[in-house]
Symmetry: C2
Subunit: 212 residues, 2 copies
DNA sequence: TACAAAACCACACAAATATGCGGTTGTAAA
DNA sequence: TTTACAACCGCATATTTGTGTGGTTTTGTA
């Protein structure tokens, strides 16, 4: 039996969802709220498995609501409901801690299926949303070591790394068994490649571009 | 008409997929390879919309294959095929540039649907995989700004930020409307808090600890 | 083989930095 | 009210850095 709670301001939708859930074997709607505030007030006393939360709500919006709920109960599975698949909102909701994402026009059978998937550790979402999530997450990770000008040679990467560790020219020279002037030379080339003029800026850029 | 290419070493699966695709209106299998090498060799001359690529391949594996293909044609839509939903592999494949993820036991109708979704800009994947992706991507983002000794004051964070942007003391002073000596003072305190002795090290540490 | 790129070395000098000392003011907790 | 801390300001000086110039050697590849 999956215990579901609903947070949705539109009475028709809310009651429709509750009826659907309660009318299906294996599902039970044990809470129904028309705003985040009252949900946050009560949810601790209920043993909820999955929350369906609307994003556009009067007062505190769904994203804020997710944040607060997750703060209190980090393991809670929350499925967002929305009318439009808007990139920005999706991103925020997932960052806030939502587990998945449903558009309201989702047919009842899929909706029930999604609730089950969330409960079993999945993250149901449309493939379009998934692509957005992947893109965002790749931005953060790869940060495309963009080919071309900013490609540092192995030696140069070593130098930048040692710089980032707080070594001065002499320290780098000692560690790489080269002269201080060579270090200076490498750093000059690094500056050229990264379009910077100070150690600090070079290291910041290198880290952010995941070059080191 | 969606033009599909297949890279799969198992002859039975490969020919089965090709037959399925060619036997469906709106889909056409225009290439079929049993390893990445031959695919990479030929794919530029074909006008491929979607690639189905096995992950476990003899010689170059599917993940390497994706990397190389994306390098040559960044916009290419590649759907990975695999037997198991393994976290590590999924993660790597998506990072490498794959658009989605299918387990081989996927029924034909879903498979065709997935190809269509990819072609329309989606990223089909099971909800379990989606959860993994989301978790990974959240790790990358949040990255706990560890509280404690390394807590910089607001002002100090501003200073570190400006440092990381390549400003010198005078530049920072100008932007914050304070004297160079005050900047100097802030930086001294930052060094103390972060246990470093150079700008470069401070910025590196601040970025890595997500303080800025 | 010839050519480019990476890695190496050296000298000079103006500019910027790190570190020491000294201080004032305002706010918030003990 | 005292204590603590953030933010502010000033000065002196040895050290480090950034930038210019000039080179050699090694290595991979056309």
């Amino acid at each position: 039996m999956i215990n579901v709670a609903i947070v949705e301001d539109n009475k028709t939708i809310r009651e429709g969802l509750a009826a659907l859930i309660n009318g299906t074997t294996g599902y039970s709607c044990i809470g129904s709220f028309n705003d985040c505030e009252s949900f946050l007030d009560k949810f601790k006393s209920l043993s909820i498995d999955v929350v369906l939360m609307d994003i556009a709500l009067p007062g505190m919006n769904g994203i804020e609501g997710v944040k607060k709920a997750i703060e209190i109960e980090p393991g809670l599975d929350i499925l967002m409901l929305t009318i439009y698949e808007e990139s920005e909102v999706v991103y925020e909701a997932l960052c806030a801690g939502a587990c998945g994402y449903l558009v309201k026009k989702t047919p009842p059978s899929s909706l029930l299926e999604a609730i089950k998937e969330v409960h079993e550790g999945g993250s149901p979402m449309s493939s379009r949303i998934a692509r957005q999530v992947i893109n965002t997450f790749k931005e953060g990770k790869n940060a495309t070591p963009e080919k071309g000008e900013d490609q540092l040679s192995e030696r140069e990467k070593e130098v930048v790394n040692l710089l980032a560790q707080g070594n001065n020219y002499q320290g780098i020279a000692d560690r790489l068994f080269i002269s201080v002037d060579t270090v200076r030379h490498h750093i000059k080339n690094i500056y050229k490649k990264l379009h910077v003029h100070t150690q600090t800026e070079a290291v910041a850029k290198a880290i952010r571009k995941k070059l080191i």
